[in-house]
Subunit: 236 residues, 4 copies
């Protein structure tokens, strides 16, 4: 299983508070636990040519993980389009936290992906609501993050195929924090935790969720559809 | 639009606290605002012959509203089966509060309909998560009930076709408190609020939700399917 | 109920065969039966300024019907974007036939909307598979069009919320020919019949489907969501 | 992966035509290719005590495959209930062909599972409509069975979570021939081919589908939900 971790890698270099938590970048921490799980990991960054997402890299990627936040607009349309096409043809895609506003994710959803948010270091409690989903392997019935950014409903996404997690926040908000979608042959997972000022990706249950999601989102190996003008009518 | 309101009508006669809130029974309060909305309303009670749900009554019912709690087991299997058949053939069905454990609802879901609960007079906040759903006509983005019984996830139901409301409770729980399902030609809405010791059904937004749900659940007037041995093969 | 019928209106003026069937344009035939049903109808055409779809027109439209085929690329991006935003905020949208490749529809779906096709004047048989759906009001269990363009699976769309119709074609193909989606507060119906060289929109059952779909797709009147930075944390 | 194959095993002993195709029973052919795939297989038959489905056997079963047709009524209610509970707690379930009318499947669906049928030795063509689904691994875009029993829509099931296959029959019928459902923690796959008078289960693509479905339906290892009275309110 070949995983590419994409990171805009801006906060970690600009902001002391974030650098203390993720000195090598969020992608490095993600890559670390993915490698320990046995996945083959490569990184791609906004600053690289074509943001590190050439046709070649994508062709060798089974699942792409995406972390973006303040630099969505700096992603070139052509690259976003290329990634989208590759997902439709079967590559898995895991969008983390603020990546619900990334060009690729919005393009796949067709909606604004708007939501409510609040940065107040609140506790988040995530409830498993589809215990039979492969993403829930080995999870407890619920788990907590001591501090997270609040993301609250309404969340303008298409009705998910599975709502795996529902989150609770102390201020009175709820959120569909783990959602799956199929687009073309590609499987997509949106997972809400991961604000850059909290050590979320060191949390063992969060790591387990992401590893499970990688296995779930892997290409199915199903047929490549052909479209267009079909054989002349021949009664079968 | 012909609505039948079914009530087990046990708490209101047995328990002083409940009688103060619903002196004529929960069904009377439900019937009252439904009639004001212009629906034709009739009542059916557990204590009546065939629980008031004869073939004749069901044939004249467009939408059946159900409130049951401690007397689910007293509903005769034959009547539960008759109601289920009528729903499959197009009658709408609205299951309120603890009716998630009613024979008819469990029979339609195929699951245990288990959930977590707590009677502590807590505030409940309901968020609209599908603003385009007809059940949300005229609702605010969220609304609150000062006191309700907590119902919490996991809720063992089939994945709903629409999750219209998500609820927040102060103790850290969340709940899919408004869910729609289709079974056969019948439309089904589960709506969680309505514990007998709180005046929930006097709340204007709760009333609006139930009226909207009645309109949404009305029979579609679609074709009555025919099953079984089909015409001999004749190439068309 | 205010319906706007949009037509690219190209085939009918360019192609003698099509003009014989739709001398005033496909939109005129659509508008005719919609008006007889009691809807308030206005037209918008590709050739008009802003393709007839100004903010003003859209603000006064409850449901937009779209017929496009060979001129999808001539629709300005800005207008497509405007229509999309209006759908997300609650306007209904009915995409007919080849409009599965229209900019607005593809933008909402997030997929290629690819499919197989064949122009061979074949019979199409449409089966109702969700008889309880409001779009099926008054329909027979199945109905036939003597001649249609074949559209066949695979059809690259997101999993529909309801598959209302499934179609059969004599050459061995099947197709999800009536599909519903929700995007934001907008309800969307894709309906496959309507190739320009056949008199499909004169067929009484086809007309019934479209009228039913207009009623179903009407704005719900639900709350307008607000997004962004939420109230400071205040334990409720 | 431990698979139990259940067969009513009636036709194969009673009917010469069927015995020629499945001399050791349908279960033997199913078990044969499943073992070659590396699964651990055991059999259970209607004629055995408790139909071979004791608590012990079910506890040691990851995925249960079911083939029944004319003896559905002979399955004891208690055993059907036990199997259902085990599915809700995570065991996978694959219902083949006429097993859509088996007690367990109907109990899980909550509908009549009615459909149209015709025994005329017709060709069936199955189209893959969700190429990204794990059940489609290694499949062609469509495949054909030279002779099958026609099963046609409408098929009274709850809206499936995925419609993996759609079938075409020469008499003008279509059918959702591969459907997935989640009930509790259990994953369920209905697969339509397999009439006893045709050698369907020797077909290599059919075998591939069933092997894929076993892998997909395996228990997720997610949390076992707890229901009932929840901790006293404690603001978190």
């Amino acid at each position: 299983m070949r995983v590419t971790v994409w990171n805009e890698f801006v906060h970690e270099r600009r902001d002391e508070e974030v650098r203390k938590i993720y000195p090598q970048g969020i992608h490095a921490v993600l890559g670390d636990f993915l490698q320990k799980e046995g996945f083959s990991v490569r990184f791609a960054l906004l600053e690289q040519p074509e943001h590190g997402l050439t046709e070649e890299v994508l062709a060798q990627t089974d699942v792409l993980i995406w972390w973006g936040h303040i630099a969505h607009q700096e992603v070139e349309d052509e690259v976003a389009e290329r990634v989208t096409r590759r997902i439709l043809s079967g590559m898995g895609f895991i969008a983390l936290h603020a990546s619900q506003k990334a060009k690729v994710f919005k393009r796949l959803m067709g909606t604004s992906c708007g939501l409510k948010w609040r940065e107040a270091g609140e506790k988040e409690r995530l409830w498993v609501v589809e215990p039979g989903h492969p993403i829930c392997q080995g999870l407890p019935e619920h788990f907590e993050l001591e501090q997270e950014e609040m993301y609250g409903e309404p969340f303008e996404i298409p009705p998910p195929e599975s709502v795996v997690f529902l989150s609770w926040f102390p201020g009175g908000e709820v959120f569909r924090s783990g959602c799956t979608f199929t687009r073309g042959a590609g499987k997509i997972f949106y997972f809400q935790p991961g604000h850059e000022t909290y050590p979320t990706y060191y949390h063992p249950v969060v790591q387990k969720v992401i590893c499970n999601a990688v296995r779930w989102a892997a290409p199915s190996g199903g047929p490549a559809p052909t479209y267009g003008n079909h054989n002349p009518l021949e009664r079968i």
